[in-house]
């Protein structure tokens, strides 16, 4: 339940430097398609420190999922090329051998998906699936694996695990399945957990339980979390840092509170302003005109330019991910001159203020 200490979330990025658990540099993903080669993402740079919880946000198609998959080298068959490097605790995941990858995947880095049913095998009991993962990676005896599985099911909040361990996936509710997936992914004590929209298919009351669980587990076991979502509320509740992506690029990287209060990129600001939580009730919602450019037809320079209210001559030049101080980064050459609105602009008159005030 403990909300993160404000002091921990403001302006104190753990990113960069020698203490990073994972350092992604210049990551780009290209696909072969019937229309030729598509550059789906490019120039992705970010770091994750041990125990840090990083939210990756952005609209549909901006490249969140494939970035997550590329870390485990689980990209689809029509991959045309993976550029850049992914340094994880001494190994470059982008270039290491398949054998090295297999030793890391599931054991030191685990991933959970939106739909747990697709990742659970319907013909085995949930207990068997979790215990087998553990045995494959550690070779411990069956009895011990079962004990540790029971313990893990208990930790993820499955009531009466002794009764549930021999259930098949279809016998569980959606929320319980997601807990089982989390148990399976954490059983080997990974250093990094990648969770791709883990609560999107769940009801808000169940979502709240799962997010709290992820936060607690990350805090108690120092597991780093990379949480992929399009929901800024989910990031605010769960993460310490927020990376915003747009059209295949990272456009902002900051401590969550900094990004919410004083976003530096016009796109992040536009997103926050358009949220109904943060606008006066019944008022007109600010919106971002236009749409994300197509992958086949990416403009040069700033990819947000056609929709940006602050675009000027010069924005059509290549934009680098600039260091904005305090561990913040932003891909907008105008960030110093712009004074952009964040989540607090309307919050005092917005419905959310009342929600905060209510008991």
């Amino acid at each position: 339940m403990a909300a993160a200490e404000p002091a921990q979330r403001m302006s104190k990025s753990a990113a960069g430097g020698p203490q990073a658990l994972m350092s992604v540099r210049g990551l780009g993903i290209r696909f072969k398609t019937s229309h030729g080669i598509w550059q789906a993402t490019r120039k992705i740079d970010f770091d994750i420190a041990p125990g840090e919880r990083v939210g990756i946000v952005g609209e549909s198609g901006c490249g969140k999922t494939i970035t997550g998959l590329s870390i485990l080298r689980l990209l689809p068959n029509n991959l045309a090329g993976l550029d850049g490097s992914i340094h994880f605790d001494g190994t470059d995941l982008a270039s290491c051998s398949t054998r090295e990858m297999r030793a890391i995947r599931g054991r030191r880095i685990a991933m959970i998906f939106q739909e747990p049913m697709s990742a659970l095998d319907p013909v085995f009991t949930v207990g068997h699936q979790i215990a087998e993962t553990l045995r494959v990676h550690t070779g411990i005896p069956r009895e011990e694996a079962r004990e540790r599985t029971l313990d893990m099911l208990r930790r993820v909040g499955i009531a009466s695990p002794v009764r549930r361990i021999d259930d098949y996936p279809h016998q569980l509710s959606g929320g319980m399945r997601q807990r089982v997936m989390i148990a399976a992914s954490l059983i080997c004590g990974p250093q990094l957990l990648i969770a791709d929209e883990p609560t999107t298919a769940l009801d808000v009351t169940v979502q709240a339980q799962i997010l709290e669980l992820l936060r607690d587990l990350s805090e108690t076991s120092n597991t780093a979390l990379m949480l992929i979502t399009h929901d800024l509320g989910v990031v605010a509740e769960t993460c310490t840092r927020m990376i915003t992506m747009y059209a295949g690029e990272v456009i902002e990287d900051a401590a969550v509170d900094d990004a919410l209060v004083r976003p530096l990129h016009p796109y992040t600001s536009g997103l926050l302003r358009s949220l109904p939580h943060l606008s006066p009730r019944h008022g007109k919602l600010p919106s971002i005109p236009g749409r994300v450019p197509s992958i086949m037809d990416m403009p040069n320079g700033c990819r947000f330019r056609a929709r940006c209210p602050h675009a000027v001559a010069g924005c059509e030049k290549e934009q680098a991910l600039l260091d904005a101080g305090d561990g913040r980064k932003v891909r907008c050459s105008r960030f110093r001159e712009l004074d952009l609105a964040g989540a607090l602009q309307h919050a005092a008159t917005a419905p959310i203020a009342a929600m905060v005030a209510s008991p």
């Binding site: 979330r9 919602l285 209510s358």
Partner: protein
């Protein structure tokens, strides 16, 4: 069972009385009581929001309101009249005044039909006016929702999600309805265009005097757009009242939990720490708990909650609730 009584207002465009809708399960052996005794009025010109968790019966109510399915019991009146008592022809033309729009614009649009043909289709089925008049009305509707007329020649896959949802709205508007049930209409849209579509709904309402029943599980959306909100749990309403009251001074323990579970995009200093984490998940509507249906997850449940179904009562003006203890300022947890 105590029927849920409701206010009767002369200005009701829809009056629902003790509505029940049951479905046979696939094995045919049980009945899912998807809606089990709900009463309310929708007032002309308002936006009436319905929230609740998955499977609580929101879509079923929406479909019943526009007679896409028949109530198992209870009554639905449109302007005080029971449409099911109308002669067939009159019923068919009456139904045009009450439209429904669903979440997924892809499912609503035929991929092989141009945008213009899709917008024209309801007019043609209704044989409304001459060909030229139909075209004029279709163009008006497209213009209304902000679609350039040259998009009419395109196919759905050539449009963005927000544009497709606009097409679906235009299509519903061609028949000049009085009421539109909007079922999760922004859920499938990307965040940066959700605002646009919500603004469009508000603008259409102002200009055309439309009434909406707005169904969603997104609290932020529903409290932004609605005048009144009903909270649904396992086939019944547990609370109904003006948006400000329900979202700021909720009376029902379930509403409180739902509000507190909503993830808020606020910095930690502003979020407070008052989450009520509900245990367990929503029980099956095939075999709902006795008495108060929320009792299996309610931290305030007492013995009486298992024995007696709480009355649906107007505890404050215009603010209804079904909980034995809602009038106690601070219920005591067991």
């Amino acid at each position: 069972m105590m029927p849920q009584a409701a206010e009767t207002s002369r200005d009701a465009i829809v009056s629902v009385r003790d509505l029940q809708v049951g479905f046979q399960t696939t094995d045919g052996r049980a009945v899912v009581k998807a809606v089990d005794g709900v009463s309310f009025d929708v007032r002309r010109g308002e936006t009436f929001g319905i929230i609740g968790e998955s499977g609580s019966g929101k879509t079923t109510i929406g479909r019943a309101l526009v007679f896409l399915l028949k109530p198992s019991d209870g009554a639905i009146l449109h302007n005080g009249v029971d449409p099911l008592a109308m002669p067939r022809r009159q019923f068919q033309s009456h139904r045009r005044d009450y439209q429904i729009i669903f979440q997924d614009p892809n499912a609503a649009l035929n991929p092989r039909m141009t945008i213009l043909s899709s917008v024209l289709e309801p007019l043609e089925l209704a044989r409304a006016g001459s060909k030229a008049e139909r075209l004029k009305r279709a163009h008006e509707a497209m213009d209304r929702v902000g679609l350039a007329l040259d998009l009419g020649e395109r196919y759905p896959h050539q449009l963005s999600g927000g544009q497709k949802q606009r097409v679906v709205i235009a299509r519903a508007l061609t028949l000049r309805p009085k009421l539109i049930v909007c079922d999760e209409v922004v859920a499938a849209l990307d965040m940066s265009i959700r605002g646009d579509v919500l603004n469009l709904f508000a603008e259409l309402q102002r200009d055309l005097g439309l009434t909406y029943v707005f169904i969603t599980h997104d609290l932020a959306v529903v409290s932004h757009i609605s005048e009144r909100i009903a909270v649904m749990y396992l086939g019944r309403f547990v609370e109904l009242g003006p948006t400000e009251k329900v979202s700021e001074r909720p009376l029902h323990p379930y509403t409180k939990a739902l509000l507190s579970a909503e993830p808020r995009p606020l910095p930690s200093t502003m979020r407070g720490d008052h989450r009520i984490v509900l245990q367990g998940e929503i029980p099956s509507p095939i075999d709902p708990p006795s008495g108060c249906r929320f009792r299996t997850r309610c931290q305030y449940a007492q013995g009486v909650c298992a024995e007696k179904t709480p009355d649906w009562r107007e505890l404050m003006p215009d603010h209804w609730v079904a909980c034995h203890f809602a009038d106690r300022p601070n219920y005591s947890p067991t």
